[in-house]
Symmetry: C2
Subunit: 485 residues, 2 copies
């Protein structure tokens, strides 16, 4: 098990290096090395030896113990790795590489037609993949379960059923009656080194342990790691001052979750985040609920002013409204907190229809435009700004999108529970005392690693299953205030 872990770790380090440090000439050798290590890890993990050990362990472990949790997690990983025939895995890997290339080209030239046949293939592969895993309700369930254990299409439909109408109404209301604040002053030319130092200062302040991790830059920000003692974050610098700052807080949220697993579980499958949704709940909690709050900037705005005097004109109330602007837009990754989940809703509805064969790939661009008009009141003029914008489907990541919304909703539900037990979070944040908040999250979520299933963890941490109403209540209260509604 530690051998497989070491091979995964090497692969993760190679991947981190590739995205942050590697000279461009090194790509081909890196692909070869990574491919070999990844094959070795797969061979070792899916061997008859693993199957035998797993069988033995299953019979030996006592219920409710750490060993039992370990066996459950390894069983899940083993099944996921062995249910797909090798030939299928190879075919998918080959087609995904091709599809990714074709997607890049199609996006550059805004020509959906050249990508359509490949996208059709990817959905066809996804259907096969779901069938290999097995499913009862909806094919989509099998795919979603890979990212969010125990979740089904019906769960996602229920979740969106609760938030769809209220969120569309809130967006309309903000647009029609909200008192807007011009955020253009956040754009400018900002010294990268200062941005990096300020971002490092913030993530250190909230509790990311910089003795056991670091922050670098990458074109597409991410968080990775290979030990609870070595977690790597990345951010990027753009014209908008918030890009590096909120990006860093977001990744630090992921990072603190990863750093929170018990050291005793290090290098075992029990360490790390339990699901994409729970992971995203932590990145969004620190980025949005903490990082875009008024008390947070009461504490840090003077330091921001000292570093970037061009921002000195904005007092804390103004700055708070500037970093919380709501504006229906075409691009998901640039969307604000209020419209974000509508972007996800659109993708979920479309991938469900495509997977079920209720919609043809050729009809996607038109359906995309219609849904943007329906939910956000705007229509992309190009497919580049429309159905070609996301990388996910081209890489076979079908069933992935809902985890973003699960995370957003969960972050509010967890925060609500936290503030019930720690009522003075505003005061704590305003003086930069994040330890009680991090400590609570550590106790309820981080230290459990993958011990519980995602659904068990949510129930235990918050006393109930995912409840979209906490999100609705929180987001509505915040934005009624920001827009004086």
């Amino acid at each position: 098990m530690f051998d497989v872990n070491a091979l995964y770790a090497a692969g993760a380090i190679m991947d981190w290096d590739q995205q942050t440090m590697m000279p461009k000439g090194g790509a081909a050798a890196r692909a070869a090395h990574s491919g070999i290590l990844s094959r070795m890890a797969h061979e070792r993990f899916t061997s008859d030896e693993t199957a035998r050990l797993l069988e033995e362990a299953t019979n030996e472990v006592a219920l409710g113990t750490e060993d039992a949790a370990l066996v459950r997690v390894v069983r899940r990983d083993f099944d996921q790795s062995t249910k797909l025939p090798s030939a299928f895995v190879e075919e998918k890997s080959r087609l995904s590489s091709e599809a990714h290339e074709k997607w890049v080209q199609a996006r550059e030239t805004d020509s959906f037609a050249t990508f359509a046949p490949t996208l059709e293939q990817m959905f066809s592969l996804a259907r096969q993949e779901a069938d290999y895993y097995g499913w009862t309700g909806h094919r989509y369930d099998a795919l979603l379960d890979c990212y969010e254990e125990g979740w089904t299409a019906v769960d996602v439909q229920n979740m969106f059923g609760t938030i769809r109408e209220p969120m569309v109404r809130l967006v309309e209301e903000i647009r029609e009656r909200g008192q807007s604040t011009d955020a253009v002053g956040l754009n400018g030319t900002w010294d990268n080194n200062r941005q990096r130092k300020f971002s490092e200062h913030l993530i250190h302040a909230i509790g990311f342990d910089t003795d056991r991790g670091r922050l670098d830059t990458a074109p597409h920000p991410f968080c990775t790691g290979w030990s609870v003692t070595d977690i790597r974050l990345t951010t990027r610098f753009k014209d908008m001052i918030g890009s590096a700052i909120f990006g860093s807080l977001h990744e630090a949220g992921h990072g603190m979750y990863e750093q929170g697993s018990p050291l005793a579980w290090d290098r075992t499958p029990l360490a790390g985040g339990v699901s994409l949704g729970v992971h995203e709940s932590q990145s969004r909690l620190w980025e949005n609920i903490v990082g875009r709050s008024l008390p947070f900037w009461r504490k840090f705005l003077p330091e921001l002013h000292a570093n970037f005097p061009n921002l000195a004109a904005f007092d804390v109330d103004t700055f708070y409204r500037m970093i919380n602007q709501v504006e229906p837009s075409l691009i998901r990754v640039e969307a604000d907190e209020v419209t974000y989940n509508l972007h996800i809703l659109i993708r979920f509805e479309l991938e469900m229809a495509l997977l079920a064969g209720e919609m043809q790939v050729a009809d996607l661009p038109e359906a995309w435009r219609a849904k943007y008009q329906q939910y956000l009141g705007i229509t992309p003029e190009t497919d580049k700004e429309g159905c070609l914008q996301d990388v996910h489907w081209s890489m076979g990541g079908i069933g992935y999108f809902p985890t973003y919304t699960i995370g957003n909703l969960l972050s509010f539900q967890i925060w609500r529970k936290l503030t019930e037990e720690i009522p003075n979070t505003d005061d704590l944040i305003a003086v930069g005392n994040f330890a009680p908040i991090l400590g609570w999250l550590q106790d309820r979520i981080y230290r459990h690693g993958r011990y519980y299933t995602p659904k068990e963890l949510v129930l235990q941490a918050t006393g109930k299953p995912l409840d979209a109403n906490d999100y609705l209540a929180g987001i509505t209260a915040k934005y009624r205030s920001v827009y004086s509604l």
Copy 2:
């Protein structure tokens, strides 16, 4: 073979990361991961399968072909990896770790006595190791051969026999009659970022391909790599402006040698430098013969002045003399070009005597002081500045030191041949046209990777075996001029 290479590559990336990037908390996990990968690589490489394939290949390959060279190199690596019993390798690895710890402590507290028993053990292990490898002339031969294939203690004795007296005399002459130049102006507080950028500028100018490599910082500078397309250099910043600059040129010399192997050999054992001595000849050639030359600074001093105005007071002749100061000193790694080999000579004579049992470990400090007095005219007051200064013996690196001098001597021999064929190197360097020089080295040395043995390569590149007289002639001419003798 590619599997073993991928495991080595992963290990090298992990090691690079550890020395340049890793947060300190990550050390234990890194040690565990590296240890596992290194065991896996060793198991695969030394397997019966490798032995069988090697046997088959030996019978199949035609003499004088690339395949034959590959078989020869793999056979050498395989024998080195299999001649030592696993139990011995484990014991050595364990004792080396302990010895390194004890050496660090002994150095900190300047207490040789606490380190002496461990050093005795390391020499005892070295004797066993030599016996496992086998030897005919002197036990030392077996150890030296690991670092410099085909070299013997007698070769080293002959080499030092040629340079010992003339170098001791030259040092004396410089001290007694040389016109000295105060180099204190090179010390100061220099902006690290500017030092880094200027160093990058220089290594790019001489021909290090920054699309296939990069420069970072590390406490102990080194060069590593895992593909001819991905070579990593490091440097460090100190009070002396030359530390980063000459350190970078030194590592870039290693790096260009590594980058010069044919792409077709990438990820095979034929790629890379052939020995430590030949490697060092390239780092020293670029650092000293090119980088500390007058024409080099005719080209680059104006740019250095622009970046560091504090140095503007020194014209090129003064600056040239400042960076070529000769001063007998106690610490090897800070030694100048003239005294450097005397530091190595001392170590070689002492490790020969210790290995042969002609000297006791307890007598080392006194013997060390006596030799420093004899060869350099100075005596260390502490063992910290004396026999405890080098890491090598504590890590079992006995027989390693001579490769430094082999490299220094070879660099002059190679340069002499190069200037016979390219007589206008001064003019080329003065205008920053390094391509003909790099091209010549590429053709005669770099592109051959490990195809030839070190001795074959030297013979072929320069027309003769190592000849210390080229070094004596070159170094004497240079320093008679620098010191107006």
